[in-house]
């Protein structure tokens, strides 16, 4: 339910973004035509406006636009002279892959480090984790990307940017290309996931510390369960719930971050495209990207809610009541 409301809200926002700049599609079209030497008369412009319904009230235009979008027609990307869907192409999938791998990295790193931090509280490792956590909190991902890029260049003389090796960038999809992508993925994923990892470690550590003090843990230990079982079997499982529910806010955050990190690292995601579209006031392209990113995030959040429902029996019980 909320997911639907959010989607509607996002679509309205995307539409507002399309409408915000002065002038409309036709003004932009005329500017483009006169740029290439041809001329559009006032009557023609008027006819075009009529045809595209641009002289109708705002909400009618919105509904029309939504109707087009629902049929997969996102309009034309003016600057490119091609349909928006064509221009975006693979980039949306790549954005999704990068974001998802960032979340996977976040989890894979945060889970063991968080458990270690809680079980060995105040150990050297715990302090290192806490320190990293604070740095992750304070360093915006794009700055991290810049710094890593700098050190990659000066120390190892490699350009760490991009998602593909030069040979594969324009090549059609193949197993070799997918493998190439897999090799390039970890670094951007790590950069994107760093802040989230830091946060998750803190959350998991705090939750687990609370759990570890509970009587049932003492009981389990008193009964002679191995330390590994005492910790992993119950407390970790309970402390894990907030972990899953964090995808809900981790995902918007990571998607946001991917835009700006992509620009720094030169990843072929929708990020650079969005920036270019905005600078060129190519509003259909920009609006569509905002819309698709938003919807993608909502779907992801929704899936994480389902996952949470599956993991945590308590929520299922509460929901039934």
């Amino acid at each position: 339910m909320l997911a639907i409301l959010t989607t509607i809200a996002i679509s309205i926002l995307a539409f507002v973004i399309i409408q915000l700049p002065p002038g409309d599609y036709i003004t932009a079209y005329i500017a483009q035509m006169s740029g290439s030497g041809s001329y559009v008369s006032e009557q023609e412009a008027q006819a075009l406006r009529e045809q595209y319904g641009l002289n109708r009230p705002m909400y009618v235009q919105y509904v029309r636009w939504m109707g087009l979008v629902a049929r997969g027609n996102f309009g034309m990307a003016l600057e490119w002279g091609r349909p928006v869907a064509d221009v975006i192409g693979d980039r949306l999938w790549l954005t999704m892959i990068v974001s998802l791998s960032a979340i996977v990295v976040t989890w894979v790193l945060a889970l063991p480090i968080g458990i270690y931090s809680a079980v060995r509280q105040y150990s050297a490792g715990d302090y290192v984790a806490t320190l990293l956590g604070f740095i992750g909190l304070a360093v915006p991902s794009f700055m991290l990307a810049l710094v890593i890029m700098y050190f990659g260049f000066t120390l190892f003389n490699v350009n760490v940017g991009g998602l593909f090796s030069p040979g594969f960038a324009e090549a059609p999809w193949s197993l070799a290309k997918a493998w190439d992508l897999t090799l390039h993925l970890p670094l951007p994923a790590l950069i994107l996931g760093f802040a989230g990892t830091a946060q998750l470690i803190r959350i998991l550590r705090a939750n687990l510390l609370d759990e570890l003090r509970k009587p049932y843990v003492v009981t389990a230990r008193a009964r002679g369960l191995s330390e590994r079982r005492v910790i992993l079997k119950y407390p970790v499982r309970v402390a894990l719930n907030p972990f899953v529910s964090t995808i809900g806010y981790l995902l918007p955050y990571v998607v946001s971050g991917s835009i700006i990190v992509s620009l720094v690292l030169g990843l072929p995601t929708v990020g650079p495209l969005l920036l270019r579209a905005l600078v060129a006031q190519d509003m259909f392209l920009a609006g569509t990207i905002v819309l698709l990113l938003g919807v993608m995030t909502v779907v992801g959040t929704f899936l994480s809610d389902l996952l949470l429902l599956w993991i945590d029996p308590r929520i299922r019980v509460e929901g039934r009541r």
């Binding site: 809200a9 915000l20 915006p140 890029m149 998607v255 620009l263 920036l275 905005l278």
Partner: protein, 390 residues
């Protein structure tokens, strides 16, 4: 939040007193605790949180830079000169023939005929003394007092032409001075933005917590929706729509507004939570029974007891604002030159080419990180101190 990192809780009051010298001292201290005002208790607790205190000191220093940016800068931040583009940071030499006499070397620059890069060679024969309270460009101290004194500068020479503590950018502008001005812009944006967010957050969170019911549900849903939208693309869209012919000031306020539109949700959540829990408290019921009106209850009973929480939440919201502005300006959609902010400064270090040639342009990343960390520590400490009776 991770409370266990700084053990406090129930032992806090007891440990305020030194434990060794007998019971009498303990009793005195206990009395001191029991008559202390709420704010005193909070201060005592905050003081014990060493990271937070360090953070607070750094934040104070940073805001001192905001106030005295033009005094701390020694060169006009907009004075560009192609003849000194991309100068490396210049070391200050503190001693001259065994005596303490800070000075820098003069330099000569020429263009390398092979690479077309400008090369600079320091000239040890030309020693330029660095002095305190030197004369430089004119400005108004605190916006009032016209003066041309700066914290330091070069005696008998224009600082613009001779002193480059952090090097220069592509247009030959002094990075140190620009950093001072950038700090001013970025940190005030944080403050103004957070004020706007605070107004929105307190209003909506207050209404939500006070009235409950349908209003509450609607506002909570709105908050959830706002939080589930990826912010950067949205900001980018809004920021890109700002007309190109706007003045620096107009853009500044528009950007602040855009940033604060997202940042209010967390504040609203805190305010609502406080309202909800306070509504159940006995002293509120007592006030109600004594016939206090709703306004009076809110203003003189509820607000004082959650003010500290709001201050803490506000402090924690400032770093987000600063990062947002920095990101937007970094993308070229936020503040635009000639405005100077951390993001605008970092924009020059955007690609690997410029990083490789002039790594010092990445320098503004350090103050960004330090200030944001400091604000986070301070906010953490404030949040822990916000409820001194816990």
């Amino acid at each position: 939040m991770d409370r266990s990192a700084h053990p406090r809780g129930g032992t806090a009051i007891a440990t305020l007193a030194p434990e060794a010298p007998a019971i009498a001292v303990g009793a005195v201290a206990e009395e001191r605790v029991s008559v202390a005002t709420q704010w005193q208790l909070m201060w005592w607790r905050f003081r014990r949180h060493r990271l937070a205190m360090t953070g607070a000191v750094i934040v104070l220093l940073a805001y001192a830079v905001v106030i005295f940016a033009d005094f701390l800068a020694y060169a006009d931040p907009l004075a560009s000169e192609a003849q000194r583009s991309l100068l490396r940071p210049q070391p200050i030499r503190w001693f001259d023939e065994g005596r303490f006499a800070p000075h820098v070397y003069g330099f000569s620059g020429r263009r390398d005929p092979m690479t077309f890069k400008r090369v600079y060679t320091p000239d040890p024969a030309k020693k330029l003394p660095v002095t305190l309270f030197a004369r430089g460009f004119e400005y108004r101290l605190l916006g009032l007092v016209p003066t041309d004194r700066h914290l330091f500068g070069v005696a008998d020479a224009r600082a613009e032409e001779t002193l480059f503590l952090l090097g220069t950018d592509e247009q030959g502008r002094d990075l140190w001075s620009r950093l001072m001005y950038g700090t001013r812009t970025s940190l005030t944006i944080g403050l103004v933005g957070v004020t706007l967010s605070l107004v929105l957050g307190v209003a909506l969170g207050g209404v939500s917590g006070l009235y409950g019911g349908t209003v509450d549900t609607v506002i909570q849903r709105v908050i959830e929706i706002v939080r589930s939208i990826p912010t950067i693309p949205l900001w980018m869209g809004l920021a890109a729509a700002l007309p190109n012919d706007w003045t620096i000031l107009q853009v500044y306020f528009a950007i602040t507004l855009i940033i604060s539109l997202i940042g209010w949700t967390e504040l609203a959540r805190v305010v609502r939570g406080r309202f909800l829990s306070l509504r159940e408290e006995e002293f509120i019921m007592a006030a109600e029974l004594a016939g206090s009106g709703q306004t009076r209850i809110i203003v003189s009973h509820m607000v004082p007891s959650f003010l500290s929480h709001i201050i803490a939440a506000t402090t924690l919201a400032i770093p987000t604002m600063i990062i947002s502005e920095t990101s937007l300006s970094f993308l070229g959609l936020g503040l635009r030159p000639p405005a100077i902010s951390w993001g605008v400064l970092l924009q020059q270090a955007q690609n690997i080419q410029s990083l490789a040639i002039s790594p010092w342009l990445l320098m503004p990343a350090i103050p960004v990180t330090v200030v944001i960390l400091a604000l986070n520590f301070m906010g953490d400490g404030l949040r822990d101190a916000a409820d001194p009776y816990a």
